[in-house]
Amino acid sequence: MDGIKDRVAIIGMGCSKFGENWDKSADDMIVDSVYEAYEDAGIDPKDIQAAWLGTYVTEWTGQMLSRALKLDYIPVTRVENACATGSDALRNACYAVASGACDIALAVGVEKLKDSGYSGLPDFELFRRQQNTYRTRTYSPPGHFAMMATKYFDRYGLSPEEGKRIIGQIAVKNHHNGALAPKAHFQSEVTLEKVLAAPMVAWPLGLFDCCGVSDGAAAAIVTRADMAKNFRPDPIYLKALQIAVGPYEGYMNPKFDWTHVEETVRAGERAYAEAGIKNPREEISIAEVHDCFTITELVIMEDLKFSERGKAPEDVESGFFTLEGGLPVNTDGGLKCFGHPIGASGLRMMYEVYKQLQGKADKRQVKNPKLGLTHNLGGTPATASVSVIIAGNEKG
């Protein structure tokens, strides 16, 4: 099995402003992000030969993309894989190009959540359907991720106060980074004191431990690696495209320890193997990970082998994951600050990696990045669809 390494490159990307975009429809945001990508790639819309549209709940079928962009009867497929939707849209577009089925493909992710009037996501009942009996536990994302926080603190001997101080610093870091990203939902820093004083959402997670609900869209144009330099001098090459979907084990099997996410571990290991990476902590230059909750980012550091098991708190405390640290994580603010329009997030993460690898990340730029990683986690710690994608600015 050869893998995807160095067979496909991204030659253009776009990203809309993320936030409570009251004045923008989903179609508006699709047009904004895709036309930025066309311009970035220097191509004409007619050059797109196939497209993948990632959206979680906004609309069904790929027709939405054709309608908004007036695509000329090309193949368009809607992709959904919970919060990994955007990454899966990119994965599908890349596989199409790598297979030789087409040469230039478009991947778009979009979500319009703020028309609902809800606090929180509109999918709470979806997760409770249980074969239409609804015989399952109450669901909210904070509630289920908080179960991981409770167990993590307990396992590693952290009092709730100590634990909250550790994860609170992740919120502070991401707000600091997001304040440097003009397209981010939130543009303000936040202090640790404010994080710790925030009202409880799902014990032990408070308001600032939880990412909000946002609208947004992002897009990528991909082509064969051997054609990429026809479009631009600095294409970004895909090194690994991996997804792991778990069989619902965490909820049913006492073996699951609630202090890691198995899908992240598996997708990460396969991605590192595909990309030829032996020491992620040393070799990954920047990572965009799924900080739906602060505890999630903490555990991801261990699951992706950036930190040893149980040692992520030390790395958080030492600033290892800050912009100035050894492995900057969520340099654009992450889900917490940039926002989380579900279908778009995977592609927004790649947008930041892409810009960083091209040296275009402005005030957030990290020094000489070589390899960037994106990670999405759709679901809960107990069962999820996780994507890990690795990209680099050089072949080899």
């Binding site: 009037g117 929180g120 074969q131 009996t133 015989r135 536990r137 908080a146 014990w203």
Partner: protein, 471 residues
């Protein structure tokens, strides 16, 4: 001889102090009343009592199940059928609902005795439960409590024989609730006291004893339904009874629990009875049923593991009157800004009867791993369609992790979401109930209870929840 083979009371965990009700209305209040949690109703309380009653009994012996209540969750849809399914009883079980008055419990007991004596049933499980509501700021609101009891009636292994049964019918509009009303109404207090209960109960007792040729001092305990402690004292005096021999109805600890009251009182009397003790049991509601019982040598062996001592001492306070109003849906609350609850499919619920109603999972025959819900492909070894039935509801369990979720849909947030690990294997991730969030700890012992999950689409969806095990 026919009589009681096994018995158990059930009181909900929560108590609402009458002083707290009085605080809301600017009045006073003495004692407290038992309050069903927001996920309990007469059916779930009857299940709890039945499970306790059947703890030491082989369920295969039971061939009839009677449910008695004036507050059944359905006017049309049999509750006894649901309870029988929860208890995993066969479809040949004779299931029957009783109602109509506060003597529906003794109505059911009498029918059970008659069935056993006639040979149409070997063992009848009688479950009685009530969850009555009094209107806010009224006397009934102060007085009423929620509770249940279950009795197994048979002719083998009898611990208290039922020796005689007398009945009297009486047409009166004293305590009533029509099909158009949510709240029980009562006519003028003195009429209800003196011309209802106070007239009928002594009359029925005298007639019953005349018929059976016994005198009142035959009885070690006289167990009477009474709407409150004062009326109990009044009838005690009327009958010239020694108050020591009159069973406490726990009005200040549980309240007037309605139909199950006299049977909860009887459970208290039975648990302290000696072999040979006689008991007089008197219900009231448009007449009276009077039963005479004799405790046998086996009476002590039938003492339930959770008796009066447990129920008097194991309790949590409903913190405020407003919370009671919320639980009982007496006030309409602003709905949260989240997606509304969806309607389960009765087809799907019917498919899930075995697994969901009974908390039955499967155990893989190849690798021995228990799993819930029932699977076709083993989560551990991948074997397909190679399982045996496995019950989870009776297994000891511990709490693996939890959160108190303020965002997830609930009538009374926060909801405690729990991962529960079972002795022998298997995990179920499920809501917790009957808990103070402050007391919840990883590793605490857990028991599973049958509760209302949701009410959407005009029907109740029942399932299970976890709660701290307190004994």
């Amino acid at each position: 001889m026919t009589g009681i083979v096994s018995y158990a009371p059930y009181l909900p965990l929560y108590r609402l102090s009458r002083a707290e009700i009085g605080r809301a209305w600017g009045t006073g209040g003495k004692g407290e009343k038992a309050v069903a949690a927001h996920d309990e109703d007469s059916l779930t309380m009857a299940v709890a009592a039945a499970q306790a009653c059947l703890k030491k009994v082989d369920t295969a012996r039971v061939d009839a199940l009677f449910f008695a209540s004036t507050t059944a969750p359905y006017m049309e849809k049999q509750c006894a059928a649901t309870i029988a399914a929860v208890l995993n009883m066969p479809t040949s079980t004779y299931t029957c609902d009783f109602g109509g008055s506060l003597r529906c419990g003794t109505n059911a007991l009498r029918a059970a005795v008659d069935a056993v004596n006639a040979g149409s049933a070997r063992n009848v499980l009688v479950c009685i439960a009530d969850c009555r509501l009094g209107m806010p700021n009224g006397g009934n609101e102060m007085a009423f409590g929620d509770g249940a009891a279950a009795y197994l009636i048979g002719s083998e292994g009898v611990v208290a024989s039922i020796d005689s049964m007398y009945t009297m019918s009486d047409e009166i509009i004293d305590v009533f609730r029509s099909d158009r009303e949510r709240y029980v109404k009562t006519w003028e207090v003195r009429f209800v006291r003196d011309d209802g209960h106070g007239r009928v109960v002594p009359q029925a007792i005298r007639a019953a004893l005349e018929k059976s040729g016994q005198s009142l001092d035959t009885f070690a305990k006289v167990v009477m339904y009474s709407p409150d402690a004062r009326q109990l004292a009044s009838v005690t005096k009327m009958l010239k009874l020694d108050p020591e021999r009159v069973q406490n109805t726990y009005f200040n600890e549980f309240g007037d629990t309605g139909s199950p009251q006299v049977l909860i009182s009887l459970a208290a009397a039975l648990e302290s009875a000696s072999p040979g003790d006689k008991m007089l049991v008197v219900s009231y509601g448009n007449g009276s049923d009077v039963l005479t019982l004799t405790a046998t040598d086996g009476i002590a062996s039938a003492k339930p593991s959770r008796g009066m001592d447990y129920y008097l001492n194991t309790k949590l306070q409903v913190p405020t009157y407003e919370k009671y109003l919320r639980w009982r849906r007496i006030v309409e609350l602003e709905p949260p800004a989240t997606a509304p609850l969806e309607q389960p499919s009765p087809v799907a619920l019917w498919r899930d009867n075995k697994s969901g109603l009974d908390l039955h999972g499967v155990k893989c025959k190849v690798c021995g791993t228990p799993q819930y819900p029932a699977q076709r492909v083993c989560m551990e070894c991948g074997a397909k369609d190679n399982f045996e039935d496995y019950s989870f509801s009776d297994k000891p369990a511990v709490l693996a992790t939890f959160s108190h979720d303020r965002l997830g849909a609930s009538i009374d947030p926060p909801t405690t979401v729990a991962a529960v690990d079972f002795e022998g294997g298997g995990r179920i991730t499920i809501d917790m109930t009957d808990r103070d969030p402050e007391e919840v700890r990883i590793g605490m012992p857990i028991e599973m209870v049958f509760r209302i999950l949701r009410y959407v689409g005009g029907f109740y969806t029942y399932w299970w929840k976890a709660r701290p095990k307190r004994d």
